[in-house]
């Protein structure tokens, strides 16, 4: 049986990187890891909500708030998921209350504060948390563009956010070369992969993004 990813550890690692300010990709990683499971968790609890966009809004507001003030989260008190889940849940309750005020008494919705204790591992949420799985979605699209298995492995390391040269050097079988030469070869291969993507990417596959 495959080992289950440790949600608490993933959250702690990402939070430490965000607070350290050393990574520019960490906000994207946090969003990709936590947004889907936070939404899923709220969908499950507030299944009778008519407008599912409210859940998306509650979750994204929680993330925007966290990105603006990561210091407000105290890792010693709860996991990052628990913290974000509580914030998103609270945002949603506020949205629902204001909605109720607008529509009451015509079609009021019963809103109760959630009494769930958000344990790590509840409802197998971690299953959805494997970063590999998230990146698999990206890799699925890239496989057709990068038929070479080695290129796929290198691209996979890149989109995993791996920055250390040694992992690429290992894949390329150049571990024994001097550091400078290794770095040059790794950079050349990374650039080649990006160029391949740029050359082969088809315009008609695009959708709306921002």
């Amino acid at each position: 049986m495959a080992s289950r990813p440790d949600l608490k550890l993933i959250g702690a690692t990402l939070h430490a990187r965000l607070v350290a300010g050393s990574s520019l990709t960490v906000t994207s990683e946090i969003a990709e890891v936590f947004t889907p499971i936070l939404c899923k968790s709220l969908y499950r609890e507030f299944f009778n909500i008519g407008d599912l966009n409210m859940i998306d809004t509650a979750v994204t507001d929680a993330l925007v708030g966290y990105f603006a003030h990561p210091e407000r989260y105290e890792p010693t008190r709860s996991s990052l998921f628990t913290y974000l889940r509580l914030r998103a849940g609270s945002n949603l309750l506020n949205l629902l209350s204001s909605e109720q005020r607008h529509h009451a008494p015509k079609d009021s919705v019963e809103v109760e504060a959630p009494d769930t204790v958000y344990e790590e591992g509840a409802d197998n949420l971690e299953e959805a948390l494997i970063k590999r799985e998230l990146n698999e979605r990206v890799m699925g699209q890239l496989r057709t563009i990068l038929p070479n298995e080695l290129d796929q492995e290198l691209a996979s390391l890149m989109i995993d956010g791996v920055r250390e040269t040694q992992y690429y050097a290992e894949k390329l079988g150049i571990l024994n070369l001097p550091e400078e030469e290794k770095a040059q070869i790794v950079k050349r291969n990374k650039d080649r992969i990006k160029r391949a993507l740029q050359r082969k990417y088809k315009r008609e596959d695009r959708g709306h993004v921002v």
């Binding site: 989109i159 990374k190 993507l197 990417y201």
Partner: protein, 144 residues
């Protein structure tokens, strides 16, 4: 293609358009400056939507930092974007931001100067009025 589950991430990228610290802001500014639609933006970066979304959610490299090149490389690698193109996009956005800032500062200081000038003119005019009023209400004024 983007999947349904990307809806919330799209919404998040949309909210981060208003925060200068994020790539979403830089991408939106570039789109606005170049009058590009989202497809043209994707064209210029030549990456699939799922990676453009990922890029939008990253923090924005700081061109004034000594680590700018390294920061651009980190983001470019993570999103499989060409680092040269990304650096150019960021520099362009920043240059136009600075021009706008300068324009605003110039307009503000011109406005302040004009306000000051008008206030001085008003004070001067009021001073003259007061003087002529006191002269006309004092019959002995100027007769000694």
């Amino acid at each position: 293609m983007l999947s349904d589950s990307d809806g919330a991430l799209l919404r998040l990228a949309g909210k981060l358009r208003h925060d200068r610290r994020f790539m979403s802001y830089a991408l939106a500014s570039f789109q606005h400056q170049e009058e590009l639609d989202i497809e043209q933006l994707a064209d210029s970066l030549r990456i699939p939507p799922v990676l453009l979304l990922r890029l939008a959610l990253c923090r924005r490299p700081n061109s004034e930092s000594e680590q700018f090149a390294q920061q651009v490389r980190e983001v470019a690698d993570y999103t499989l974007t060409d680092e040269g193109q990304l650096a150019n996009l960021l520099r362009q956005v920043e240059a136009i931001e600075k021009l706008r800032e300068l324009e605003r500062t110039t307009l503000n200081s011109a406005g302040e100067s004009l306000t000051g000038l008008l206030a001085a003119a008003r004070d001067h005019a009021e001073g003259e009025d007061e003087q002529s009023e006191s002269e006309s209400s004092d019959p002995d004024a100027g007769t000694d």
